[in-house]
């Protein structure tokens, strides 16, 4: 491998990891403005145009505040938890192809962090790592509210991961591959000339289950039981302040973006739209924009839902996960299996 290859590889891996945190800044602003819009109030509007500077101001505040640690906390784990959260959030994006492949100077460069054969399995593996951040934070804080948040989170994430994985298994089955590029490739073209061959159409059920489970996996309302403020103060991050708290916040927004990106890729054709055949760098940039637009749409849904729906009770949460989502996901899988068997038999 030449030096150029190394550089390209490095860029492929690092670029998304570096850019994602940057996107978090406007996202916080968007969330607050969105909340304000839904609640019919102005929201942050003083710092900069449209209050855009508010996000930057918040960031500066986070970095400069004093970071307090409870005396009885477990020091190592207390510090480890936010790091794990950020690490897990940032590494998940690695397997998502976010633009079409470009060919420059005889090199074929797939725009993806790491094109793994076990693609989506990697995603779930890293996602399952993120639960440790919450559980550790809850335990290390030595605070009963935080501990409750940690316990809730562990059970919640395991339960919803099942539904999410089973829903995604439908896509894997349809594509006969774990790799996300393969999954995008199978969604090219149209049915009957107008309907895009996106997975969302045959697998509407799977999509719904996946997307709902994504809310639970990212601890967003209506599934934010681990940090439910009326009951648990702030849940697992009650004892966290300053940038340590900021890290959790950042991880959450990155997770929202990744969840949206993965939803886009699995069910909405990723960077592709029917009739669009990207070539070269311009094509790649266009496809990147398409991907960004789709992802942004789902991020918007995340924000919209957060400020619209009330929180579930814990028993309701478990009931939905095990008695509604999982059976539906299984139904979806069964349907896709039947569909695939029918296709194979032809």
């Amino acid at each position: 491998m030449s030096l150029v290859d190394w550089v390209i590889l490095l860029l492929r891996v690092l670029l998304p990891a570096l850019i994602m945190p940057v996107f978090v800044i406007p996202l916080t602003w968007l969330e607050r403005r969105g909340a304000a819009f839904i609640q019919d109030r102005p929201g942050p509007n003083r710092v900069g145009p449209l209050g855009l500077g508010q996000a930057i101001a918040d960031m500066i505040k986070m970095f400069t505040k004093e970071a307090v640690m409870p005396a009885s906390a477990d020091r190592l784990l207390f510090l480890l938890a936010p790091a794990v959260a950020v690490f897990a959030a940032l590494s998940t994006f690695a397997i998502v192809p976010y633009a079409s492949t470009i060919e420059v100077g005889g090199r074929t460069i797939p725009i993806i962090g790491a094109d793994l054969s076990i693609g989506i399995l990697y995603l779930f593996a890293i996602t399952s790592l993120s639960v440790y951040a919450i559980v550790l934070a809850g335990w290390a804080s030595n605070d009963k509210f935080a501990l409750m948040g940690g316990i809730r989170s562990s059970a919640q994430i395991i339960s919803y991961e099942l539904a999410m994985t089973t829903a995604a298994a439908g896509v894997v089955l349809a594509a006969s591959s774990f790799r996300l590029p393969d999954i995008i490739a199978m969604q090219q073209g149209t049915w009957l000339g107008i309907i895009p061959r996106w997975n969302v159409f045959p697998q509407l059920l799977g999509f719904i289950v996946f997307f709902i489970a994504a809310f639970a996996e990212t601890n967003r309302l209506p599934f934010d039981l681990p940090e439910a403020e009326p009951e648990l103060v702030a849940g697992y991050h009650t004892e966290y302040s300053a940038m340590r708290f900021g890290a959790f916040q950042m991880a959450e927004y990155v997770n929202v973006m990744v969840a949206s990106a993965v939803t886009t890729t699995l069910y909405f054709g990723g960077w592709s739209i029917p009739g669009f055949h990207p070539h070269g760098v311009v094509g790649a940039i266009l496809s990147l924009l398409i991907f960004g637009a789709k992802t942004f749409l789902f991020v918007g849904v995340f924000i919209w839902v957060r400020w619209t729906l009330p929180r579930f009770r814990y028993d309701q949460l478990m009931k939905i996960g095990w008695k509604a989502l999982l059976p539906l996901a299984l139904l979806n899988l069964l349907w896709i299996a039947a569909l695939s068997a029918w296709r194979l038999s032809r």
């Binding site: 784990l77 793994l116 054969s117 076990i118 399995l121 990697y122 779930f124 593996a125 890293i126 996602t127 399952s128 790592l129 639960v131 440790y132 559980v135 550790l136 809850g138 335990w139 501990l147 940690g150 316990i151 562990s154 059970a155 994430i157 395991i158 991961e161 994985t165 006969s176 591959s177 774990f178």
Partner: protein
Amino acid sequence: MSAGRLAFDAFALVAVVFAGLMVAGKDPIKSVLALVVSFFALAATYVMVLSPFIAGLQVIVYAGAILVLFLFVIMLLNVGREKPDGSRRPIQTVLGSLSVAVFATLLLGMLRGSGARLPPQAEAVGPEQLPDPAAIARLLFSDYLLHFEAVSVLLLAALVGAFVLARREEAP
């Protein structure tokens, strides 16, 4: 020493060291976390022995589910540190340590030389095919279909069993 071997040995060492920490630790939570690290390192070694699919499963199932379940149970039961035994008959500890030492010596001694003489396999596939999840899937759903189904029944039984065991006795 090649880079591949170096990386493998490094991860293996991490796995062993954290396994040791898990066994030695007094705090169950820390033990679980040590085992998490150990399992992640093991997953890395799995990738290096050409089994990325298993590595993914390892992380998802072991680190992502089983050990989280352990954490959950530890937190739920609020299991504290191990208290001193107070037993005046240390036969279990002494005999146990001794036998473990003998066993470890025997095992490692046996394993050190065993890798060299492997019989060649008739249907062996190349190292480029080994990591392919599709090949494993094909085997699982053809030659090992019965086993696969049996395991799924087992899992269902375990699900029901776990539910029955952990359910609170309620007045009917």
